[in-house]
């Protein structure tokens, strides 16, 4: 629901909103794209941010590749379902057959509900003349916070989150909308590589 509402309030059309849930199907990236567009950034800055956020799915894929089917077509479908939730459910099981079942069951269930919810949320916003009246402009930050919170269980990610927020706000007046996010992404990548070398 919340994605459909936020996306259409950000100015994406109903088909564009549904296409994101059907074809992108990775929540944080979808919210990021519409968050950047809603804040006045270009769709390309939004797309770059979405792809950067999607990079973690490659690591999930790596962990899942030994569990999931190796055959061609099923693997192509499986890839679409490689997200936070399915990975968590799959790697929580010991037995490979159970892992596979957990992966597909979680993936299919989430895909159906996520897309139905998106459509319902997007339709609901269609009847709202001004999104601000319902506080819909305050919804994206809350969504990002809810996605961020489970990743903050140690001191280092907390410090990184705080620094990232400050850096983004400091850059913001001087560069086009959406670009502060890319600056933050470059800085954190440099930090990660430098730290890993020690």
């Amino acid at each position: 629901m919340s994605f459909g509402t936020i996306s259409t309030a950000a100015g994406l059309s109903l088909p564009q909103t549904c296409a994101l849930s059907l074809l992108m199907f990775t929540g944080a990236s979808q919210f990021a794209l519409v968050g950047v567009v809603g804040a006045g950034g270009s769709v390309w800055a939004g797309a770059a941010t979405a792809a950067l956020l999607g990079s973690r799915n490659a690591l999930y894929g790596l962990r899942l590749s030994s569990i999931l089917e190796r055959s061609g077509l099923r693997r192509l479908f499986a890839a679409h379902f490689v997200i936070d939730e399915t990975t968590a459910m799959a790697i929580a099981r010991e037995d490979p057959a159970q892992s596979r079942f957990a992966f597909w069951a979680t993936g299919i269930a989430l895909f159906v509900f996520w897309n139905l919810g998106t459509l319902a949320g997007a339709l609901a916003t269609h009847f709202v003349p001004d999104p601000k009246v319902f506080g819909l402009d305050a919804a994206p930050p809350a969504a990002f916070l809810a996605l961020l919170a489970p990743r903050l269980r140690a001191r280092e990610p907390m410090a990184i989150a705080l620094a990232a927020g400050v850096v983004a706000l400091v850059c913001l007046p001087f560069v086009p909308a959406g670009v502060p996010l890319l600056i933050v992404a470059v800085l954190v990548a440099v930090f990660g590589v430098v730290r890993a070398r020690r």
């Binding site: 999607g54 890839a79 997200i83 990002f144 809810a146």
Partner: protein, 98 residues
Amino acid sequence: MWAGVLVACAACYALKLAGLSLPAGLLQDARVQRTIPLVPVALLAALVATNTFSTGNHLVLDVRAAALGVAVVAVLLRAPFLVVVASAAATAALLRLL
């Protein structure tokens, strides 16, 4: 808009497939393994900050800050995703009514 949406979808799918299909060695590099989990932390935090405290290219402090405060409380209380988002939106809407 459509081009950006579709390219982003293709990029996200390619990343998912890459993890499943690329030879393990490429992504198992220690630097890649340790850096990639930091990216969502930094980006999501930056998104929280910019979506709360700015309009266009200007830093602003408005009802969204209060709404974020309510969202923080909801997160600390381990509220479900939809409750966190809805409570923030409701806070902003109510404060604007006052």
